[in-house]
């Protein structure tokens, strides 16, 4: 369902040129659980942002579910992000003024779901990440692991076909990190497609498939 063909992304700052992605090709099928590893600055986040339709490639082809992404306008990309992609960030990126519940509800509001459908889905998702008893808490009133679980619930709320996580355990201690990873395993077992970027070899080792990024290129890891 994800196909990248010779994708490049070049950042120019003054005269300097950074080839963040340099002919990256990759194929990920529905239902896979993939870990992406690689040294810092190798282009992992850049790849993830393109896959997640937050950014566009400078050249090459990116197809999501058989549709070429570069053809879409910004609002169409917003629609794709809303319906097909669930993003999980290293720093959680919850809206601090809103409660856990309201954060999880947000993508559903942009889907224009009815109030009843939203309520039901939010309850379901908070139940899934075992935070039903914290639904009225603001992010500052939650631990790091709890915040990340709220973020996961938010990413899952829209029932996306693709879950993307950029170092989801990077800001968590190892025990909490393990909890998050076991949550990913459960979600994978339920049929979700998951792509996780990680620095942590032990986290990567848990994934059935591992990909290494080096200097903007993709290598499979045996």
């Amino acid at each position: 369902m994800i196909t990248l063909e010779q994708v490049t992304k070049i950042y120019r700052i003054g005269d300097e040129e950074v080839r963040a992605l340099d002919g990256a090709s990759l194929r990920i099928a529905q239902g896979e659980f993939v870990a992406i590893i690689g040294p810092s600055g190798s282009g992992k986040s850049t790849l993830m942002n393109i896959v997640g339709c937050l950014d566009t490639a400078d050249s090459g082809v990116y197809e999501l579910d058989g549709q070429r992404i570069e053809r879409y306008s910004e609002d169409e990309l917003a629609r794709i992000r809303n319906h097909k992609i669930g993003f999980i960030f290293q720093n959680f990126n919850l809206l601090s003024r809103m409660t856990a519940e309201e954060n999880v509800e947000l993508p559903l509001i942009y889907q224009r779901l009815s109030m009843r459908a939203r309520r039901q889905r939010v309850a379901e998702m908070l139940d899934l990440v075992e935070l039903s008893d914290r639904k009225s808490h603001k992010p500052t009133e939650l631990s790091g692991g709890q915040q990340q679980r709220v973020a996961i619930a938010r990413a899952l709320a829209a029932k996306p076909s693709l879950l993307l996580a950029d170092e989801p355990t990077g800001n968590l201690d190892s025990r909490t990190g393990k909890e998050i990873m076991s949550l990913f395993h459960r979600l994978h077992a339920e049929g979700n497609t998951i792509v996780v970027i990680t620095h942590d070899q032990s986290v990567a080792d848990q994934a059935p498939r591992r990909i290494r990024i080096l200097d903007g290129r993709v290598q499979e890891v045996a």
Partner: protein, 393 residues
């Protein structure tokens, strides 16, 4: 979506109450100025117009200033009345003298006139009758006095048949009039007494039998036609000497007054609108800051699927909400101010919130919210999701 945006706006405002209030202050003061100033001017204007209309706007006052050796005689007036556009014509002359009954006495303004005067000035009889034509032709010593004069001199309004002394001469009271503020009584204090025109001329050393002042009414409601008609006839009478007489149409006073108040209301309103615009600029300023501060939030919203339109709508509605809340507070404050003004100056005139200006201020506030919210909202909507997400305030 709209409802969600309103909820989000309320939340954003509630999260930063002090700043929101300070932002609103510009709008609050602007609306307060607009509503209070315009309401004050229109209230005052209404009061003045009412007063002017009470003086009788349905009469034309003519003063002959220079008859060129051809004085206007009483019997000539009937020729004016013959014109189709003219209703009635009444000459007046006035003496200020002492009125006496028994031990009671006081200053009186004695007006000599003809029966037509009662109709032209809409006099209202309480008892008895007004002057008659026979009174004028026979220069009888009869008087019609105002109720207040009767009360003060006689202690009762029932004075028909009693005698009153004017300049020491006895006059038979034939009628009592309801008190009325006429244009003349406004400038002539004292008891109001009417006697036949000819009698007044005989009584005074200074008055001549020539008519120097008269009141003219229209046959219908068209004061303008009456004015044109009497002007033309008087011009003919005085050999087209435009300086022979002055013509004063009281209907004009009312018109001029309301024109002045309208102008004042527009002027004051204009100044207030400028302060509203300044308030709008304040809102734009704060919204710009807010958009920058919330870049990360915008990035997150976009990452989870917010379209440009929904971001735009969110910030636009936030600006609109600030404006509208400010407007409502301003209107409420105006109401309080006018209420206080009425409590203090209610005996002079009543101040009321004019609904038109309230609607106007709401419309203006929405307009200002839209105009000054648009550019910050657009700025927010245009942010690239990836860059917004990376932003660290």
């Amino acid at each position: 979506m709209l409802w969600q945006c309103i909820k989000m706006a309320m939340k954003a405002i509630a999260a930063n109450r002090m700043r929101a209030f300070l932002t609103m202050l510009g709008i609050i003061v602007g609306v307060l100025a607009l509503v209070v100033l315009v309401s004050l001017v229109t209230s005052a204007g209404d009061a003045v117009t009412e007063q002017v209309e009470g003086l009788g706007t349905d009469q034309i006052r003519i003063t002959i200033t220079d008859d060129g050796g051809r004085p206007l005689r009483l019997d000539e007036l009937s020729s004016f009345t013959a014109h189709a556009d003219i209703g009635e014509v009444a000459p007046i002359n006035q003496i200020s003298t002492t009125a006496r009954f028994g031990d009671e006495s006081g200053q009186a303004t004695v007006t000599g006139t003809t029966p037509s005067y009662a109709d032209i000035s809409n006099l209202e009889l309480i008892s008895g009758r007004f002057l008659r034509t026979s009174d004028v032709t026979n220069n009888t010593h009869v008087a019609v006095i105002a109720e207040s004069a009767a009360e003060e001199l006689f202690g009762t309004p029932n004075v028909v048949g009693a005698e009153i002394l004017l300049e020491g001469r006895p006059f038979l009271i034939v009628g009592v009039l309801a008190d009325q503020e006429t244009f003349i009584s406004l400038f002539m204090p004292g008891y109001t007494v009417y006697i036949p025109y000819t009698t007044a001329v005989r009584m005074s050393d200074t008055l001549s039998s020539a008519v120097t002042t008269m009141l003219v009414s229209a046959s219908g409601t068209d004061m303008y036609a009456a004015e044109v008609a009497i002007d033309e006839m008087l011009l003919n009478r005085f050999r087209r000497d435009e300086d022979a007489f002055d013509l004063f149409n009281q209907a004009l006073v009312g018109e001029v007054m309301s024109e002045i108040t309208n102008l004042l209301a527009i002027l004051m309103g204009g100044v207030a609108v400028i302060s509203l615009v300044v308030g709008g600029i304040g809102i734009m300023n704060i919204m710009m800051v807010s958009v920058t501060e919330r870049t990360k939030e915008i990035g997150v919203r976009k990452a989870i699927g917010a379209s440009r339109r929904s971001i735009m709508l969110q910030f636009l509605i936030e600006a609109l909400t600030i404006c509208l809340i400010g407007c409502l507070i301003g209107v409420a404050a105006s109401w309080i101010v006018l209420q206080v003004a009425t409590a203090l100056f209610g005996h002079l005139m009543s101040f009321h919130l004019s609904p038109g200006v309230v609607i106007l201020s709401i419309v203006f506030s929405i307009f200002i919210g839209l105009i000054f919210g648009l550019s910050p909202a657009n700025q927010a909507a245009r942010k690239k999701p990836i860059e917004a997400l990376r932003y660290e305030g």
